[in-house]
Symmetry: C2
Subunit: 317 residues, 2 copies
């Protein structure tokens, strides 16, 4: 039996839909129904259900946005750093494989060393997080997500050539799937496209993004194809700026409808204006490299095309 | 009723002895007897016992030393960062005051800006930790202890004058008592003086230290005198180098006995030799300022004198 933890969240619901649509038997578990943060409770559940694979979609993201985590540090640390450790430990004790939804928001920028570039190189799975407690430049949320990867066995290692790499210090027993800024065609407060359509002002920045349904399909295929355990950046190939996404929205049917209704898309002058006016804590904006996933035979739609498709088939609430 | 969490540990046992000797009714709780890391379990306990004050001595230090925490990250993060958050939250819900044993090991160095000095200025309670995840220079243990202070409400605040201070972002409801390198006259694997007598080679460094029994007395007096809630550096005034402590040992009865038995006190050339030969993870060596405690009327013995006294009355196992 596949066990899905955090099944009622934004990502968990997408996993639910995927497994359901494929006729794969799974048990959807929400924290209300079972306190899986308790190791012995989780252990009993996995035994009773004869778990074959555990998907951990539970995490603490902050509502309505990441600023909320600054005031909820305990829950944030518990959900994003400790809980993954419980899942891993229990799964290892029972010899059950697992997958954990990690996040690309533990990076900032790209790997093109400051060159202005429309297609900058992204961070790979061996690059140490550069937006983390250890860099002292991050939101509490991002700090706890990076610490979660440490709790799952990863850490910075200094190589003989002086390079620093992010390495599993133990034998890998599960997947870390890194999600970035989810979106799809379904209008939702958690959908990046909805956010762009509803926020008063926007920050222009270049990012990798994850189409939510492609994300869960790709994660599931990691397990179906028995790819090697470890970290995978699970984003749509390439990167895109907020202004480019807004242009795609403007040209789409829903964008034209919003335009007719008088919707303006205004931008902050720069990140420091954004920080002083609209945000409590720094945001991650970053580009991820997706070659590890694609070389495992898992293909996702290039990011601009995935956004266009979502906008063409947009479903209002 | 006073509730003592972590009562069987090195610090907890000292609190136990103190409260017992003073005839103060208290309930000694160990993790074996009650899982106080679970908020509802702790809440029931505090209600049933009609708790008036909670002392949290529980923490994860690593045995035989801090290196062990590098391989036990989950337990270390749980015990040092999450657990304090559970204690604080439950106590606040029940309107019960609390005290938490924090650590001075979230600092490195002193405040004399590199001057060689026999009596350097120490870090005060408003200085942000400089040996923490956020500085990316610390052991996992120190990182979790600093994060524990964040979970208890503290964080770095940038003042208008450009200074960075460590400030409680909420209303204080309890004490954070910072302990540093405990010692007393009782031979024990956890006693700094025992460590110096038994280790093959030593690292010379300047530190503030805490006489264990004076530490618990001072902590208790914070509550007895109803000092303002907040952080207190609870160390013996002043600082001392490892070489100076070794000289005090040599001159003491136990030191002479060890000398007669052929014991040499050898030192590493420097910290980098120590790190390459004997340690997995960096150690905190630091000087703390104790004026906040003393200005509250709580006096501890100057550090060299406290060490001399302990050595004069040394009790072998």
């Amino acid at each position: 039996m596949i066990i899905l933890l955090g099944a009622t969240g934004y990502v968990g619901s997408a996993f639910s839909r995927l497994l359901h649509s494929r006729g794969i038997p799974f048990l959807a578990v929400s924290r209300q129904s079972c306190d899986y943060s308790d190791a012995s409770t989780l252990c009993s559940l996995l035994r009773e259900q004869r778990a074959s694979f555990v998907i951990n979609c539970a995490g603490y993201t902050g509502k309505p946005n990441v600023d909320a985590c600054e005031g909820q540090k305990y829950d944030c640390l518990q959900g994003n750093a400790l809980l993954p450790g419980v899942v891993k430990t229990v799964c290892e004790d029972l010899n059950v494989a697992w997958g954990h939804v990690s996040s690309g928001c533990i990076f900032t920028g790209d790997r093109s060393s400051g060159r202005s570039d429309n297609n900058p190189a992204g961070f790979t799975e061996v690059n140490p997080p550069n937006f983390s407690f250890r860099q002292n430049n991050c939101s509490f949320y991002s700090g706890t997500k990076a610490l979660g990867e440490e709790i799952l066995g990863y850490g910075e290692v200094l190589c003989p050539d002086g390079q620093r790499v992010w390495e599993n210090k133990e034998e890998a027993t599960g997947y870390l799937w890194r999600l970035r800024i989810p979106f799809n065609e379904q209008d939702s407060a958690r959908n990046f496209l909805t956010k762009l359509m509803t926020y008063n002002r926007l920050l222009d920045a270049r990012n990798s993004l994850s189409h939510l349904d492609e994300f869960v399909r790709a994660c599931w295929e990691c397990w179906e194809r028995r790819l090697a355990f470890g970290i995978y950046n699970v984003t749509n190939p390439g990167s895109i700026t907020t202004r480019e996404v807004v242009e795609l929205i403007r040209q789409s049917p829903i964008g034209k409808k919003l335009g007719a209704a008088g919707k303006q898309f205004e931008f902050f002058k720069n990140e420091s204006e954004f920080m002083s006016v609209a945000a409590l804590t720094p945001r991650s904006n970053c580009v991820l490299d997706t070659h590890k996933l694609s070389s495992g035979g898992i293909v996702m739609t290039p990011v601009a095309e995935a956004i266009k498709n979502a906008l063409q088939t947009w479903k209002e609430r």
